[in-house]
C-alpha cells in the first residue's frame, strides 16, 4: 500500500472511468424501468452489439465512424425489439419480462457469435485521443480521460433535459404516475418508445467507447450485466441521481477494493448490495418516495 498522492490520483481516475462507463449503461436501463416497469436484462447484450458494430465500422472507416454509427445501429435494433417483443410484453408481470429478455440474451449472444465469430476483436484508440497526458503528477491515458469527460457531459445533458425541458417534465411525470400522466394527455406509450431508443443508443455508445479498452468478445454483455444491475439497484430504480450515485459507488468500491483489499474486493460489492437491499429495499435514490 502506498501513501503516494500519485497512487490515489491514479486510482481515483480509474474509478471515475469505470463509473462513467457504467453510468452510460445504467441510465438507460433505470429510466426504462422507472417509466414502464420493464426489466430489460438484454441491455448488456445491446452494449456488446454496440462494441461489435463499432469494431466492424472502425476497420472500414476509422474509429469515429464506429463511434457515431454504433449508437444509431443499436437504437435501430432497439426499435426492432420494441416492435417485435417489448410492446407485447408491456402488460405481463416482471417475471415474464425477465424471462423473455433472458431468452434475448441467449439469442443475441449466439447471433453475435454467428456474425463475428468467437475470436476477440480489438480496435485502436483514435490518434486524436492516443498517448498520455501529465495530470496531478501522473501520466494518464488521454482516452480514459475522454471517457470520464463523455460520461460527465452526458450526465449534464440528461440532467438538463430532465429538469428544464418539456419532454423532461413529461418523463418525470410518467415515472411518477403513468396513469395520471396519460390522463393529462401525455402519450406515455410514445414517450416510453423514445426513452427506450435513447437508452439503447446510450448502451451502444458505451459499447463503442469500451471497445478500445476491453477486447470485444461475445460474452462482454453478460459480464457487464451484473455490475449494471447492481448499480441501478443500489441507486434506486428510475432516477438519474440513483444511476450516477450507484455508478460512482460501484466504481470506487470496485477499484479501491481491488488495490487495497484484493482478497475481499469481489465480495465487497455484493455485500454492499445486500446491505442496501436490507436497509433501504428501494435503493438510495428511488424515483418514487
Amino acid at each position: 500500500m502506498s501513501l503516494d498522492p500519485g497512487f490515489w490520483a491514479l486510482q481515483t481516475l480509474n474509478a471515475l472511468q469505470l463509473s462513467m462507463l457504467l453510468f452510460l449503461l445504467s441510465i438507460g436501463l433505470t429510466v426504462i424501468f422507472g417509466l414502464m416497469h420493464f426489466v430489460n436484462l438484454a441491455h448488456g447484450s445491446l452494449y456488446a452489439l454496440g462494441a461489435y458494430v463499432a469494431a466492424a465500422a472502425a476497420t472500414v472507416g476509422g474509429y469515429w465512424t464506429g463511434f457515431f454509427l454504433a449508437p444509431v445501429a443499436v437504437a435501430g435494433m432497439g426499435i426492432l425489439l420494441y416492435g417485435g417483443l417489448i410492446k407485447r410484453m408491456r402488460k405481463s408481470g416482471p417475471m415474464a419480462q425477465v424471462l423473455v429478455t433472458f431468452g434475448l440474451i441467449f439469442a443475441l449472444l449466439d447471433l453475435t457469435r454467428i456474425v463475428w465469430g468467437d475470436i476477440a476483436l480489438a480496435i485502436e484508440v483514435p490518434s486524436l485521443l492516443a498517448g498520455r497526458v501529465s495530470l496531478f503528477g501522473i501520466d494518464y491515458p488521454v482516452y480514459r480521460l475522454f471517457i470520464i469527460a463523455l460520461g460527465l457531459a452526458i450526465f449534464a445533458a440528461l440532467a438538463m433535459v430532465l429538469k428544464r425541458t418539456q419532454i423532461g417534465a413529461m418523463i418525470r411525470a410518467g415515472v411518477d404516475n403513468d396513469a395520471m400522466a396519460a390522463c393529462l394527455g401525455i402519450n406515455v406509450e410514445r414517450l416510453f418508445f423514445i426513452v427506450f431508443c435513447v437508452g439503447c443508443a446510450l448502451a451502444g455508445l458505451a459499447g463503442a467507447v469500451a471497445a478500445p479498452l476491453l477486447s470485444v468478445t461475445p460474452d462482454m454483455g453478460l459480464q457487464i450485466l451484473i455490475p449494471t444491475l447492481i448499480v441501478i439497484v443500489i441507486g434506486g430504480l428510475g432516477s438519474l441521481q440513483g444511476a450516477i450515485a450507484g455508478s460512482l459507488i460501484f466504481g470506487f468500491v470496485q477499484t479501491f477494493g481491488a488495490v487495497l483489499a484484493p482478497q475481499l474486493a469481489s465480495v465487497l460489492i455484493y455485500a454492499l448490495l445486500a446491505a442496501v437491499l436490507v436497509i433501504r429495499p428501494m435503493g438510495l435514490f428511488p424515483a418514487k418516495g
Binding site: G103, L104, L109, D110, L229, V267, Y270
Partner: protein, 334 residues
C-alpha cells in the same frame, strides 16, 4: 396447495419408468446423460418449491447447489469425514445458508427479491473463485463417492450411481410434496396470494418464507453433493448465476408450480441440449428462441400447456369412471 391429478400421476409414472428403463439398459454415455437429467431435475424441483408455490423467484439456487457441492468436497477431502456423514453435513450447511438468504430477502418482492438472491449467489461465487482454501478458479478434485458396498452396490459404477440418484430424486420429490402439503406449505401459498391477509391472520410471514427457502436449499444442497460425486471434480463455475438462470429457464419451460412439469423440463432440456449440440454449436440461440416463444405464448410451460389442453377432459373422464363405479357400489350395497 400442491395436488396430484390423474394427469400428474400419469406423467410421474411415465417419468419414473422411463428413467428406470434408461438406467437399466443404457450404455455409459446414456447413463451420464441420465444422471445429468436427474441432478438437474432435483435442482429445479427445489427451485419450483419456492418460485411456484411462494412467488420467490430465486437466482441463487445454482449457487446453493454449488455450496452443497463444495461443502461435500471440503468435508470429505479436508475434514476427512465419511462420505455419508459429509452428505448429511453438506445438506445441513446448504439449508442453513438458504435459510439465512430467505430470512434476509423475505422483505423484498418481485425484481428486488431476484436481485437480492442474485447478490448472495454472486457473493458466494466470487468468494469461492478467489479463496485459495476452496481451490480458487482451479476447483477441487479427488472427491469420493459414497460407499454402499454394505448393501451390495458399487457406486463407482455409473449404472448404480444413476439408480442411486434416481432413488434420491424420488425421496426429494416425496419430501417436496409433503412440505407443500403441510401447514407450512399451505401458509407459503397463502403468503404468495395475499401477504397482508396472512399477516393479519397472525402469521409470521418472514419465518414461513425463510423456512421453506431453507428446506428448498436442503434439496438443492443434496443435488450439489451428488453433482460433486458424479463428476468427482468441482469448479467455481457451478455457482455462477447463469446456472441459476438456466434452472429458472427449465422451470419455466416445464411449467411453474406443477413440480412434475419442471422435471419433464429437465429431461427435455438436457436431451435437447445434447441433440442440438450434435448438429450446431449454437445451442443458446435455440434455447433463447424457445424460451421467448414459450413465455410469449402465455402457456405455463410444456406441462402447463398439456394440463390446460387435455387435463380438464381427462379429469372429467376419470371422475365419470369413479362416479360410475361408486354408483355400481351403491346398487350392489343396496
Amino acid at each position: 396447495m400442491f395436488q396430484h391429478s390423474a394427469l400428474r400421476y400419469t406423467a410421474l409414472i411415465l417419468l419414473a419408468v422411463g428413467a428406470f428403463a434408461q438406467a437399466v439398459t443404457a450404455g455409459y454415455f446414456g447413463l451420464e446423460v441420465l444422471t445429468e437429467i436427474l441432478l438437474l431435475a432435483m435442482l429445479v424441483l427445489a427451485l419450483d418449491m419456492v418460485a411456484g408455490f411462494g412467488g420467490m423467484v430465486s437466482l441463487c439456487h445454482g449457487a446453493l447447489m454449488g455450496v452443497g457441492a463444495y461443502a461435500y468436497a471440503i468435508l470429505t477431502t479436508k475434514a476427512g469425514l465419511a462420505p455419508p456423514v459429509a452428505l448429511g453435513g453438506s445438506i445441513a450447511v446448504t439449508g442453513a445458508a438458504a435459510w439465512v438468504i430467505g430470512a434476509i430477502g423475505a422483505r423484498a418482492h418481485g425484481i428486488y427479491f431476484i436481485m437480492a438472491t442474485l447478490a448472495f449467489g454472486q457473493m458466494a461465487y466470487s468468494y469461492v473463485f478467489e479463496a485459495p482454501f476452496f481451490g480458487g478458479d482451479d476447483g477441487m478434485g479427488g472427491i469420493p463417492r459414497i460407499d454402499l458396498s454394505l448393501i451390495g452396490l458399487d457406486l463407482n459404477d455409473s449404472r448404480s450411481f444413476a439408480l442411486f440418484c434416481l432413488a434420491l430424486l424420488g425421496a426429494a420429490y416425496g419430501a417436496a410434496v409433503l412440505i407443500l402439503r403441510s401447514g407450512l406449505g399451505r401458509s407459503l401459498t397463502g403468503v404468495m396470494h395475499n401477504e397482508q391477509r396472512m399477516r393479519a391472520l397472525g402469521l409470521t410471514v418472514w419465518r414461513v418464507k425463510a423456512d421453506v427457502f431453507g428446506l428448498s436449499g436442503m434439496i438443492a444442497g443434496l443435488a450439489g453433493a451428488l453433482a460433486a460425486q458424479h463428476v468427482m471434480y468441482i469448479s467455481p463455475g457451478l455457482l455462477a448465476w447463469t446456472v441459476s438462470g438456466e434452472a429458472l429457464v427449465v422451470v419455466i419451460l416445464g411449467g411453474l408450480g406443477t413440480l412434475v412439469g419442471p422435471m419433464i423440463g429437465a429431461a427435455a432440456f438436457v436431451i435437447l441440449k445434447h441433440e442440438v449440440s450434435n448438429v450446431t454449436s449454437h445451442w443458446h440461440l435455440v434455447v433463447g428462441v424457445l424460451l421467448i416463444a414459450v413465455v410469449m405464448s402465455r402457456a405455463n410451460g410444456l406441462f402447463g400447456w398439456i394440463e390446460a389442453r387435455w387435463g380438464a377432459r381427462l379429469e372429467r373422464r376419470l371422475s365419470d369412471m369413479t362416479r360410475k363405479s361408486d354408483a355400481e357400489e351403491i346398487t350392489t350395497d343396496a
